[in-house]
Amino acid sequence: MASNAAVPFWRTAGMTYITYSNICANLVRNCLKEPYKTEALSREKVHFSISKWTNGKPEKPTSDV
């Protein structure tokens, strides 16, 4: 069985393709000119809230906008 082409440097460092791709996309978005930059960043904005559970009960959620 032939092995594939040399493993990319980000994979040897423990990063997955999705993480690599998202980092690249973020870097490109940060280098855009003004109206496009705010559009792109607001389009990709994610709202989430995390709550840890202990003893079967949720604790207070920490929200991150």
Partner: protein, 203 residues
Amino acid sequence: MFRQTSRLLARTTGAATSRRSRAFSTDVPATPAQDSNFIESWKKVIPNIDPPKTPSSFMTPRPATPASIPSKITVNFVLPYASELSAKEVDMVIVPATTGQMGVLPGHVPTIAELKPGVLSVHEGNDVTKYFLSSGFALIHANSVADIVAVEAVPLDHIDPALVQKGLAEFTQKLGSATTDLEKAEAQIGVDVHSAMNSAITG
């Protein structure tokens, strides 16, 4: 799975040992919306129940590989949030594959190429439209359809050169001072992306 049934059943009656051999997917003709062999075999065994609808009957059949090379390639260029080009017929596309800039003409051998941050140019007659892609994949099929998927793609004039220079300097400096593997990888990615953007706007 059911589409292959008739072919596999015919094979096993011939030679039980050569069950492994399957036709290459590149030789497959246009897929029919309903497999008539399967329906016939079903009706012979279970005449009272309607044959199930297989997923392939819901899909539009794969277009056949034409006998002669078509004159234009059909490009579908999609992003997660928008479809930039949808079934557009063009003369040539140049994609930034990890192995280098790859020109795709009609009749190109079927390829799956991983893309690196770089410039995608679409050539139609005398017009060339260029986009900077952050990363993605290009799938070229036997029937001269090219599907290009990218996470982020911007026309070259949306890129701000000052920010690119700033980013390049920042990441080159981070690359020098990085300690862990992960930091080095991130800094290297930063340098790669920014230098690709730089050569895209200046080149």
